[in-house]
Structures are given as C-alpha cells and as structure tokens.
Symmetry: none
Subunit: 418 residues, 2 copies
C-alpha cells in the first residue's frame, strides 16, 4: 500500500541561512505521518522569488503540499502570490476576509498610535486569495489557506510555530483535507531500543529475520549511542510486524533495553522508583551531564537526590572521599577511582544507587597510556557493583555524551542484572 | 553582487519524519554564508531511492552541493550510489580507502568479538567511490567525499553532526573547494550579543538607527534567551556597517555582552582565568546544566572545580551547608537559599566564584505564591554578591535553560560589575 505523499515547503531567510532552526517542518512531518501520509520531503528556502516559486511548483507533485511562512504584509512575504502563479490562478481580494483583517489591523494601528491608512495596502495584500482558496483562520493579520489544485491539496500556514500549529488543527477539519484524510490509512508503529550493539549487527539481525515483510518498513538508526529500530506497519500487516518484532527481540535480546519510546533516563528512574531506591551521580568528565539528563525528566526529584561534579582532583578527595593515594597510584582516570566516586556519592549523598564517571574528554589531557576518549564508569547498588570502561576517541562533545549514555545504561543493567 | 549558490541535501528517514530535528543543514548554511556563498535551499529527504535521487539531481543545479547522511554500511544508505547515478559515473572500490576502512572495521570486529568476514561487504560498499571522487577523511567507517561535476562541486558528508563538522573542515581544504572559495567573496560580519532585552526593543533600536543601509543586511534573532544581532556586510559597505554597529552598540549598551561569537560560558571562563579565580556551581532546578555548559568548553578544568547538584533539600543542607531553618523559613526556592547555595559552594568546593540556582522547573511543584517558572539565581565572588529572580512560566526544558542562562550572565555581570 502506498501512502499519499506529502511535501512540506518552509520559507524564511533566517531558516535557510541556519540562523534559526526550523521547528515547523518536523512538527508537520510528525502530524502527517501519524495521519497515514508519507512525509516525503521538507524543503527550506529563503524569501527569494525564484527559489520559493521552484519549491512550490515541485510541491504540487505530491498529494498534499503544506507551506509555512511568507504570509506577512510586506513585499518579501510572497507565498500566496507565488502559489497563485504556480497554480495559474487569479489573486482577488476576499471581501469577507478583508473585513476580518481590517478589524485586527485597526486595533494594532490604535495601539501603535499610527493612522490605519498606513496599514491598508498590507490588509489588501493579506486579504488577496488565489481563486478557489478558502481561509482556515487568522494568525494575527495573516490567513491560513486551503486550496485544491489538480488532485493536490495545498495548505498554506504562517511561520510562527504556535500560530502554525493552531491553524494546522483547523486546516485538518477543512473539506479538502477531510477528503484526503479519508484516503490515508494511519500506520501502526513498533519500536525496539538497543544499547551496546552496532548498527550493522542490527542490520544483519534484520536480514537474518527475513528482512522487511510486505507492508512493514524498518528503519535502523543510531541515536545518542543507542540503536533505534522503528517498524512502520501498514494496516493489514500486523501479523508480519509481530513476527518480525519477536524475531528481532529474541536475536538482539542481550542489548534490548526498551520496546517503547521512553528514554534511558526515564527507565532508570522508573526502575529505582519501583524498588524505592534513591539515586545520585559523581561526575568528572561528563561535568554534570548525567545529572542534567536525569533531571530533564519531570518528577525525577522523588528518586534523584543530587550529584557531585568533581572536576578537580581536590573535589574528588574532599567531596567524594576518594583516597588521594588511590588517585596517585592509579590516576584520576581509572577503574579504581570511578568505583570510589560511585561509593563516595552513595555515602556522601545518602543514595542507595550511584554512578561514577571519569574519563578524558579531550581535546587536551591524553597520553599514550590514557588517550582522549578513555572513560571508566562505575555503578553501585546496595547489592552489587560493576565497572566498565571504553575507549571512544572522538571530539569532546561525543566523548562526554558517550560516557553519559554508558553511565545511564550501566545503572539500568545493574538494576535489572542483565 | 551575486554570491555562488549552494544547495544542501540532508537525508535521513528520522529527519524527514520529524522524529529528530536536523542540525546539519543549519550548521552548513552558516558555514557557507560566512564563506561568501548564498545558501539557497535545504532539502530534507528520507532514504527512499526516488526522493533522494531527485534531490541530488536538483542539487547539481547549484555551484555547490553539500549532502549529509546516507553513508553507512547498510542497503538503505544510498547517497554515494545515487550520486554516482545522477552524475553518470561508475562506482569503483578505492583500494587505498578499502585498506583504511578495513583497519577500522577489524578493530570493531575484535572489540565485538565477531569475525571480520561479517563486515567485509559493508567495507567494500563504503570503499566504493564514483569515478573522480576523493575521500576527505573517515567518520568511523564512512568516508567524506569531494567530487567536481560539470562546474558543480559536490561535498558528501556523514550524518552524525560531530563527524560532519570535522569532515567539512577537511573538505574546505580540498582542491575543488579551494577553487570554488576563490570565486566567492566572503561578506563581512558584525555581531552584537545581548541579554535581558526583548527582540522587539532591538528591532526598534535598529529602526531608530536608520534601518539597514545599502549592502548591509541585519538579522535579529532570539537564541538561548539571548538576542543575537548579525550584520552581513557586502564588500564596499564597511563604512555603513561601522556606523550602524556603533549606533546599535550605543543605544543597547546596557544589555550588550559580546561583540564576537564566544558563548557566555566561554566568556565567564575567560573572565575568571584572567583574574586567577576558580569557579563552582550549586544547582537545584538546573540539575547540573550550568556545570555541563561550562565543562563543554575545552580547557575549562583550569578554572572550573566542580559542582554540587543539590536536588534534594537534605543535600542542600549536608553538602552546601544551607541552614535547615533557612529552608523552612523561606522555602528552598527563595533568594535566601540561592545565596546560601552560592556561599556553600564557594566554601565547600574551595572556589573563589560560585553561582547558586534554585527554582520551580515544573510541570509539578508550583503554588500560587511560587508558580512554575519562578527562579532565584545568586552569584558570589571574593568582593561582591548579587541575587536576581525571574518568573518564566513555560515548559520544564525552557525554564531550566532560562535559569542556566541567567546564572552564567549573572556571573559575568558580577565579574565585570555592570
């Protein structure tokens, strides 16, 4: 079954220049996927006539084209004018819409103490619609529009994310969109989350399980040092998806840590909470990143007590009770110090579970024996303790992220004893 | 003056489906703009053959095409294969590159305790280049490539942002890119960084300064709770840019904290280092985010000693010496407790400068008197102390980020006494 194709065109000079990151494309893509369309492309262009016109023209090749931005009152807001051009339609002032926009503009004029006449050209521009287009509501003075053109439904939305989301909800209820949605069949979704295995090993496991059956699309994607497997399941292919999911879960069991979208930090908190265990961290090279990830989760305060970021060796000794002799003998980047940091955090912070991280994040500080990327992670619970090490020669940010991921996953493994 | 046009093609199913937000397009766009090109379009597509092929074909219309992603060892990593197709070139194994990738893969195989033979098909795939393409270095087992095709320079980069950035730096040094860069005339750039002022106030200041002169393009953009003003200056318009920059710097002086691109955490570290002051943090609602931001900066260890993340009140008392009576009387979210946290961090961690942060990140925990978004930030140096508060009712992530920004900016203001 082919899903209807949706193409997204996002316009804004600051977006195509990377000065701001687009949030509308990803929002619309998720909305569209959930409703059973295939988001095939997100095109980001500036407000130049040539680039925007080309993007709109290409967008008409899909079953659905959604645009974001370029609806303001000034001359470089060109989306509606160019949409009229590429669909070969006349632009005409919609009198009803003109009245609505005029009301809003008169209020703004009053607030800014400027004559309404200054606003009138902008109001006429924003009230001008291509033949056949209908307004789905106003964002400030900018109308969102829906239009059907030779089998393609076109939805025109404003750039500010809050307004776009509001008018999208209204566009979904419009006549042309309801027709299109009737043809789409929302897919099911299965997820497997793995840690400690390579992307290519997962890919091989997929092949050995017989690959993608008809109606099931598998994507394997490395994210934050985890491997995420997503199955997008067409209606009717649920049995095949079940079989594939089971086969993968079995062959990859050793590394499987979740079959839903919860993050590893959420899982660690849930595991601790279920056993009434409190949690703390002792961090050197991660500089507080493990604590920061844990406290991103709402409600983490019932489990997570705190952290000691011991960047300097003096702080490791004074605040975590790591013996100075241990640091002298093994170096602050060592299995022994990582373990002492975890023990120290349990004791000093009064936590039942703690994890300690020490490593060389770089770019400086590496030696032949202890190169940049070498990290030790130790976890301790009331019943067990474990230390792991890894070497991940990379940039500072990557080494730190990798160490934080290793710390969270080690705690999970220790709590589930896998 | 027309700048050479650059087109960016970003591939990844998770990106076109909005499951992850693309960072590579914006990074490359900024890089390209700085070097005198016009980033004309960012196209995000999945790994489907049809969509990616179309995007690459369109990309060849520019002077520069940069791609991100699709370089892995598996069958759905298709960028190189499709680039060969759209440029009409043969794919051939590059023996030298094969050797390099084999070396990396043998190490991985050993670490994973798997036979190298499992990796060989992936190695051959990743070592296969279109005729005329040259490697600019490896990201894991994936080579970045540069290729010249009928007047268009094509740069092929891997998807992981850190790797992409590293190989981009190397691609810029390649022969074809040097040729292209020779034709571009990099615009000048002026930046003003402000904190504590609104975007619309800055926009008004720009108008009052006479707006954008010919040859100078001004963008005002809110990022991480700062306002960034960028002036892009065509060669020849330097005088006009100087005048505008001075006018803005004068009228916005109160909020201006930088005229270069250094982050606030870098500035704080530089200020401390210049005076030989050590630095620590005491964090509640930010959960380690301030420490994490400071330790992102390479070399921060000569200034930053560590942090106490005191999420639980017991930790505030035991590890930071915040009197329990103070917490009982004023509540843990109060100016008094923030100040005591900063003092405690100075004393316990032996730091000359410390900042304490406490607040209600939400979504739970708010009361009518102390709603979600209320935060207190206190900084203390050997000579001075200051507490600020703000109320920023928003989602958890935004409240935490806002509090971390406030903490770093408060330290800067205290150290510069502005």
């Amino acid at each position: 079954m082919t899903r209807p194709r949706a193409l997204l065109v996002v316009t804004g000079s600051e977006l195509v220049r990377g000065e701001r990151t687009d949030r509308n494309g990803p929002f619309l893509a998720r909305e569209i996927l959930e409703r059973g369309f295939e988001p095939a492309r997100i095109t980001i262009v500036g407000d130049g006539e040539h680039e925007l016109e080309a993007a709109l023209r290409e967008g008409l090749a899909g079953d659905l084209l959604v645009t974001s931005g370029g609806l303001g009152p000034t001359h470089d807001d060109r989306t509606v004018e160019l949409l009229a051009r590429v669909t070969g339609r006349e632009l005409r002032v919609d009198e009803d819409l003109h009245g609505q926009i005029e009301t809003v503009s008169r209020r703004v004029a009053k607030r800014l103490r400027r004559p309404y006449a200054d606003f009138e050209p902008g109001v006429r521009k924003q009230a001008s619609l291509p033949d056949g287009a209908a307004s789905v509501g106003l964002a400030g003075t900018a109308p969102g529009l829906v239009l059907e053109h030779e089998g393609t439904v076109v939805v025109v939305l404003p750039g500010p994310p809050g307004e776009l989301q509001r008018l999208w909800a209204s566009a979904v209820e419009s006549e042309p969109m309801r027709g299109l949605l009737g043809r789409a069949r929302p897919p099911g979704r299965r997820v497997l989350r793995l840690f400690g295995v390579s992307e290519s090993a997962v890919s091989r496991a997929l092949e050995e399980a017989g690959g993608e059956p008809e109606g099931v699309e598998a994507t394997i994607c490395a994210r934050d040092f985890e491997i995420h497997v997503d199955l997008v399941v067409d209606p009717g292919a649920e049995g095949e998806a079940d079989a594939l999911e089971s086969a993968l879960a079995e062959s990859l069991e050793r590394w499987l840590f979740a079959r839903d979208e919860r993050t590893i930090e959420e899982q660690v908190l849930v595991l601790c909470r279920a056993r009434g265990l409190s949690l703390a961290t002792a961090e050197s090279c991660t500089g507080g990143l493990v604590a920061e990830r844990l406290t991103r989760v709402p409600g983490s305060s019932d489990v997570f007590l705190g952290a000691i970021v011991a960047y300097a060796d003096d702080v490791k000794a004074a605040q975590l009770g790591v013996p100075e002799a241990l640091i002298r003998e093994h170096g602050s980047v060592s299995a022994e110090v990582a373990a002492a940091m975890a023990s120290g955090a349990r004791e000093r912070l009064g936590a039942e579970v703690a994890v300690g991280v020490t490593g060389i994040a770089g770019p400086g500080g590496g030696t032949p024996e202890k190169p940049v990327g070498l990290c030790y992670v130790a976890a301790e619970t009331p019943d067990a303790a474990r230390v792991v090490d890894f070497s991940y020669p990379s940039d500072r940010e990557a080494v730190r992220s990798r160490a934080a991921a290793a710390a969270l996953h080690l705690v999970r493994r220790l709590l589930t004893q896998t």
